[in-house]
Amino acid sequence: MRRVVFSTYCWVVYAFLLAPIAVVMLASFNAGAFLTFPPQGLSLRWYWVFFENEVFWRAIRTSLWVATVATAISGVIGTAAAIFQVRYARRTREAVRIAMLAPLLLPEVLTAIALLFFVYGLGIGTRGMLGLIAGHVLITLPFVFMNVAASLESFDADWDLAARSLGAGRMARFRRIMLPMIKPGVIGGCLFAFIISFDTFTMSFLLKSVGTSTLPIQLYDYLRTNFTPEAAAVSSFSVLLSLVVVVVTEKVLGLNIRRF
């Protein structure tokens, strides 16, 4: 009896977790002109409207570009930091960990504000992408770090010693032993980073330059003034895009969560 109650409870929670997403996706098929639920008939018309809307496409392109750049930067920096923390840091180990996780623990709003003042102080303000990219790098860094550090936990120091005994210098060890080991962690981390960057609102909202817009911001604007299901169609598309990115990455680069 207890098992059933427990199991049911858990499924209710899972439903709770999926509900808003499901609702949005369903609402996008609404044939009517208003965002009602249940939908008044099913239709793809709002998808067509969205496909014609250059504003959203520009926003998607911007989001993709920012996410790619930020992920590339965090990927390198975060991986290097994780390798340092797990393999080399002795007394500084905890400090490095907290520092790398700091952007996650500090309120995103505060970090965004801080960066805003910073770029204004530098004189460039929100013109150009420095503030925006810097902000996205900051919020994605912890995810890369955590993922790579986790995959390094299972790294046996003896492998490095064995490679040394067989004549491998530092570069060879890094390329042949370390890199293959952390590949799943790096890929997982970068994937997380990409999606987090793509979906983040607050950071982009405060640091974007006039005239540019990321997808979440565009959606937010729309939601406040526009009550058609077009925004729902855009949202569904965004969810699908994230899903595709995850699946493709897994297939092509091999996420391989399996332990050795």
Partner: protein
């Protein structure tokens, strides 16, 4: 030979220093500047921004309200998320991957979309109310939008993964043999769980609560969309002051007060729960 490893941490250190540490210090400075009209700030230094905050009842109430929302959300996440975390930690098989994916899915979907979904669900004409009305369970629509309750519900949804994952991690780290040992000594399944697993999962609970609380009080998008113009949390007020009102010094002071108060709550919480631990051991 010793130097090379330091090169690994150098980029991260520089990035954090330049874009996190320095800017944060700058906020502190900014909060002490004199407000300007038409420009972000005027020359000179003052403590007036803090005075303005603490002397205005509106802001104090808003802060208290925000903290309350944080606490409520944390409790809700704990109650809702703990069983799921345990199930995930112990589960095996194909379903496990699916469940794990469902828990992570909200994180990967984007805050705006999620909050948007909640607006559809919570409105007077929203899914929940129409369903309940349709089944005859209630007579009038429940006010779930544009108030604290709606914000709490939506925030719980948004932050649930942050409660589930640390607890799951803690439970996974518990040696399964410990529970078997308890049962071999005569404890029933539930007792074994209560006396062995539960206490050992508490560090995960502590991490989860801390994380959720901090994220809840500093959340922006969700309270903005759900609370609308009627209910504003402190974070929303801060952004308003900065973007719409151009009041950089005051906005900074507000933001810092929020962060510090939140931080004190967390420290107090960690102290309180740590003492309990020490006694128990």
């Amino acid at each position: 030979m010793r130097k090379a490893p330091l090169l690994l941490i150098l980029p991260a250190a520089l990035v954090l220093l330049a874009f996190l540490v320095v800017p944060y210090l700058n906020i502190v400075l900014m909060s002490l500047r004199v407000p300007g009209s038409g420009v972000p700030y005027a020359p000179g230094w003052t403590l007036g921004n803090y005075a303005k905050f603490f002397s205005d009842r509106f802001y104090l109430e808003q802060l208290a309200n925000t903290l309350w929302i944080g606490v409520a959300t944390t409790l809700a996440c704990l109650l809702v998320g703990y069983p799921v975390a345990v199930q995930l930690a112990r589960g095996t098989g194909a379903m496990r991957g699916l469940r794990y994916g469902i828990v992570l899915a909200p994180l990967l979907v984007g805050i705006v979309i999620r909050s948007y979904g909640w607006t559809i669900l919570l409105g007077n004409n929203g899914v929940i109310n129409r369903t309940l009305l349709g089944w005859g369970l209630i007579e009038g629509p429940l006010p779930l939008m544009y108030n604290g309750l709606g914000i709490i519900i939506a925030l719980t949804h948004v932050l649930l993964p942050f409660m589930i994952l640390p607890i799951m991690g803690a439970v996974q780290g518990i040696d399964p043999q410990l529970e078997l040992a308890a049962r071999s000594l005569g404890a029933g399944r539930n007792t074994a769980f209560r006396r062995v697993v539960l206490p050992m999962s508490l560090p995960g609970v502590q991490s989860g609560c801390t994380l959720v609380f901090i994220l809840a009080i500093s959340a922006y998008v969700t309270p903005a969309l759900i609370g609308g113009l009627r209910v504003k949390t402190a974070a929303v007020s801060v952004v308003d002051a900065l973007i719409d009102g151009f009041q950089w010094p005051f906005g900074s002071a507000m933001a810092l007060i929020l962060a510090v108060v939140g931080g004190l709550c967390v420290v107090g919480f960690q102290r309180a729960t740590r003492i309990g631990w020490a006694v128990r051991r």
